[in-house]
């Protein structure tokens, strides 16, 4: 090698080939013309011996080499120095991939022999990309590489590139597009639905504000749900916050087994809410549950019915939610405490502050940003609560909450329009708190 082979262009071409091949394998038809017969599905049918699997022997080679090749090609593009070997490696993988196509064309059961197994668009695109992968190191061959460089130099240079103001939006574009389609769009559609009386199967018919009028004037369950959400909100802003702060203050100090305690208090957040609901409903079982059996042990004869008692049920559900939330608040406060500049603490100590004054005048004010976040998250979580109510009582025993109420009205009672109206009300309530939080945060950012 007299001149150094420059693999930059080759690596880019290799990456392009690999990515296109991956998309073709996943989304284009491998056999025939139906999109459902794509390579990925045929591969998984073959692996799991599904009932209608088409025979595609050796197809596992394709995803295997494509993933490996994409990795190597990416390495080659990102690290031109050490990644020079990527391009030949990709060529080697391409050669292995070619084995599949060779077997497909000249093997024991060639693709031409069976009229039902005619290769589709995906097959050909991947074949083309594999050939591209095999041939791309040629771009690094000095004569060709020099020709490419001369070509790029002769191209007219544009005076302006992309305007710098546009670049952040271009980066945001993919994520924003998905957000628009899947979240913003349905939100507006729900608002439209709330003005109809759609039942989920026939065509919607506009009824104007009738749903809202009914909600606020005639629906007792709505008022009950609203009150329950409010109770949930008040409990969530006070109890987990104070308990979490207390635990964070305690565990902020070095202690034996400190990490074990922190992990165990955080553990409930890892459990899924339906599991928590199920286990807590066992704990609350009046005859066989943990709490009442403990009370029986202490010789109590009259024990509460917990979920069976209409006046207690909602508080039982909220208690299970608080149990889960405390760990989350504790972790947030621990992070906040670690961020406090120790010089403040030292200065306060020098000034003679005792522990309570230290907390009240130095630590707590410095935790204000964390507290704001926690309060807003608590409010949003309390308005969103659905899983626990749905699993523990399904809205019975006066534990109905807005989200569950909306679900039952929409999906059980086939009143989609009415359910949409409830959803819009929930959205409006949340918007008040989120708007307040965002205005505070944006204002603070501008101050800096």
């Amino acid at each position: 090698m007299e001149e150094r082979w420059d693999f930059n262009a080759a690596a880019i071409v290799a990456l392009l080939c690999c990515v296109i091949a991956l998309f073709a394998f996943l989304f284009m038809p491998w056999i025939g013309v139906h999109l459902t017969d794509n390579g990925a599905r045929l591969f998984s049918d073959y692996v799991y011996n599904a009932t209608n699997s088409r025979p595609v022997p050796l197809i596992w080679i394709i995803p295997a080499i494509l993933t490996a090749a994409t990795g190597f090609a990416l390495w080659g593009v990102l690290d031109p120095e050490k990644g020079r070997f990527a391009s030949p490696l990709v060529a080697l993988l391409g050669a292995i991939g070619l084995v599949y196509f060779i077997v497909a064309f000249v093997g024991p059961a060639p693709v031409w022999s069976n009229p039902k197994l005619i290769p589709g668009l995906g097959f050909w695109v991947v074949l083309g990309c594999i050939l591209g992968m095999i041939l791309q190191p040629a771009l690094a061959w000095p004569p060709i590489n020099n020709a490419l460089e001369r070509l790029s130099r002769s191209l007219p240079k544009s005076k302006k590139g992309i305007s710098p103001k546009l670049i952040p939006y271009l980066f945001l574009l993919p994520a924003l597009a998905l957000y628009l389609v899947w979240i913003i769009g349905p939100t507006f559609y729900t608002m439209y639905l709330s003005l109809t009386n759609w039942d989920g199967v026939s065509t919607p018919k506009m009824v104007g504000m009738a749903n809202y009028i009914r909600l606020f004037t005639k629906d007792k369950l709505f008022i009950e749900s609203l009150i329950n959400n409010l109770r949930w909100l008040l409990v969530f802003i006070t109890i987990p916050t104070t308990l979490g702060l207390g635990m964070a203050m305690i565990f902020n100090q070095e202690m034996k087994g400190g990490r074990f305690y922190k992990v165990s208090f955080y553990a409930p957040l890892v459990l899924s809410l339906p599991v928590i609901g199920l286990i807590w409903s066992w704990v609350y079982n009046p005859r066989l549950g943990l709490i009442n059996n403990f009370l029986f042990l202490l010789n109590f004869k009259e024990v509460p019915g917990w979920l069976g008692d209409r006046s207690l049920a909602i508080w039982c559900v909220i208690a299970a939610a608080v149990w889960r939330q405390v760990g989350y608040v504790m972790v947030l406060y621990l992070a906040g405490l670690k961020n406090i500049d120790p010089s403040f603490i030292d200065a306060a100590r020098v000034d003679g502050a005792d522990r309570w004054n230290l907390f009240r005048h130095v630590v707590f004010p410095l935790l204000a940003p964390v507290t704001t976040i926690i309060v807003v998250i608590s409010i949003i979580d309390s308005l969103r609560s659905f899983d626990l109510v749905s699993i523990m009582t399904r809205g019975g025993q006066s534990t109905q909450v807005l989200a569950n109420f909306m679900y039952i009205e929409a999906f059980n009672n086939y009143r989609m329009g009415y359910g949409a109206a409830i959803a819009v009300v929930l959205f409006a309530i949340s918007l008040v708190f989120i708007g307040f939080y965002l205005s505070r945060v944006v204002r603070d950012e501008l101050e800096y």
């Binding site: 025979p55 050490k82 490696l89 018919k205 979920l307």
Partner: protein, 459 residues
């Protein structure tokens, strides 16, 4: 520099591994073909004289020619699930060209998900569902396929009991295939009743009240119920209403033709209140799911449970000897006797992807063999008149007697009336249970809901 050399070496080794494994393509292909030959033994035997290469081609062709039938079922409980899987396996061996894509979804979730299934494109071919208003809701919206032709072609019009044929038809067209029903009755533990001196099954209202009194004195809870999800309470309403006011009024009420504030409805709740005042029921019924309420019975702390025949699926097998049932006591001998006998079955969606295969599978599900197997395995009563009943156990015969001697068969509260009415009704029953004095207020609210539903239906 050194690191990159190691990296290159490792990647080359990996590739070498790939190449080596890829170098065994012949054996891989062969094993694939062998597997397929095993599945298709019946076809291959017919083609005995064909040469090796051709055999390979034949097997691949047969495999490609399948038209799957999708079947969604709610049989999630252990015994019904086993039964479901067994009949699907039998069909799959008999009809390899129409394999079943079988999905079993949890019972409660299926009830919510069915709307999505029926409006999907393509919808599942065959689905399990309940007769009565629940099916009618979808039939009225045109989401269920008319299967009158399949009924005729397979002779079902001759072999199905007339009552069930009526249940399956709307305007003389058949949409539903009722395949099994089960009875509701008060299940009890004979040993516990004997223990407190009750020798005979309670037959009248006074018998029931006196039985409750005797059980309470002995410290046993007379009646257990697990009303967390509210529907077991609706059973009490159904039976009390049918016993006090007669099945005709009950069905008219379910069809929203009668008012909930009618004095007859109030009378029903008065009888209910008698039971609550006599402390007949377990405490905190809403704290238990219906299966959890079986625990006190098994532990000997409760004696009776108004529940459907499927209670035996969840009742411990070793204790089933001490489980019997009796008809809900007669309150007024002059009133016709109505029983709840919810009928399960299958229907096909109008947007089905494979209507022909679906109809074939549906008719198989309604066949004598499958109903015979359901009778043997699950004790579910057949809707066909040609099923052999001689082998069935005494309890099942008793149940059949119970239903056949009734004057009227109702489906169950949440299957006879529309879903929003059922939801509001069951909520009202639970609130009444907590505080019986609220009854007039609750009935007023139910009446408002009924009027609202009539208004919505008229739109």
């Amino acid at each position: 520099m050194f690191r990159s050399k190691i990296l290159t070496l490792m990647s080359l080794l990996l590739i070498a591994l790939f190449v080596v494994s890829a170098c065994a393509p012949q054996t891989v292909i062969q094993t694939v073909e062998v597997e397929k030959k095993v599945i298709e033994t019946q076809i291959v035997e017919v083609e005995k004289t064909v040469e090796v290469e051709k055999e390979v081609q034949v097997t691949t062709e047969v495999l490609v020619n399948t038209s799957p039938v999708s079947y969604n079922s709610y049989n999630g409980d252990p015994k019904p699930r086993e039964f479901d899987e067994a009949i699907v396996a039998e069909w799959n061996t008999a009809h390899p060209d129409m394999p079943i894509e079988h999905s079993i979804i949890a019972h409660e979730d299926f009830k919510q998900a069915i709307r999505a299934y029926l409006t999907a494109e393509p919808a599942p071919d065959v689905l399990t569902w309940f007769a009565g208003n629940r099916a009618r809701f979808f039939i009225d919206k045109g989401l269920i396929m008319d299967i009158t032709d399949a009924w005729e072609a397979n002779g079902l019009n001759e072999s199905y009991a007339p009552g069930f044929q009526a249940l399956a038809s709307i305007d003389d067209k058949k949409y539903f295939l009722p395949t099994s029903y089960y009875w509701w009755a008060i299940y009890y533990r004979p040993s516990l009743l004997k223990q407190v001196g009750i020798e005979k099954e309670p037959e009248t209202w006074d018998d029931l009240l006196s039985a409750c009194g005797k059980l309470n004195e002995a410290g046993i809870t007379p009646i257990t119920i697990g009303a967390r999800f509210k529907w077991p309470a609706a059973a009490w309403f159904d039976y009390l209403n049918m016993r006090v006011n007669g099945p005709q009024f009950h069905i008219d009420l379910m069809d929203l033709k009668e008012s909930y504030t009618d004095e007859r409805v109030v009378k029903t709740f008065e009888y209910w209140k008698q039971l609550i005042d006599a402390k007949c029921f377990i405490e905190d019924p809403a704290a238990y799911d219906w299966q959890e309420a079986i625990d006190p019975m098994v532990q000997g702390k409760a004696a009776m449970y108004l529940m459907g025949g499927f209670i035996v699926d969840s009742y411990p097998d070793e204790m089933e000897d001490d489980l019997d049932f009796f008809r809900f006591p007669i309150i007024d001998p002059a009133v016709p006797v109505g029983e709840d006998a919810p009928t399960d079955g299958y229907f096909m969606s109008s947007n089905a992807a494979n209507p022909e295969g679906g109809k074939a599978f549906l008719m198989y599900l309604g066949s004598k063999e499958v109903q015979q197997k359901a009778l043997a395995d699950l004790g579910r009563l057949p809707t066909r008149t040609d099923v052999d009943l001689s082998q069935i156990a005494a309890p099942t015969q008793k149940g059949i007697q119970l239903i056949q001697s009734a004057d009227y068969i109702a489906q169950f509260y949440d299957r006879d009336t529309t879903p929003p009415m059922a939801e509001a009704g069951m909520d009202a029953f639970m609130r009444f249970w907590d505080d019986p004095t609220l009854i007039m207020e609750l009935l007023q609210q139910l009446e408002e809901e009924r009027l609202r539903l009539l208004e919505e239906a008229a739109q």
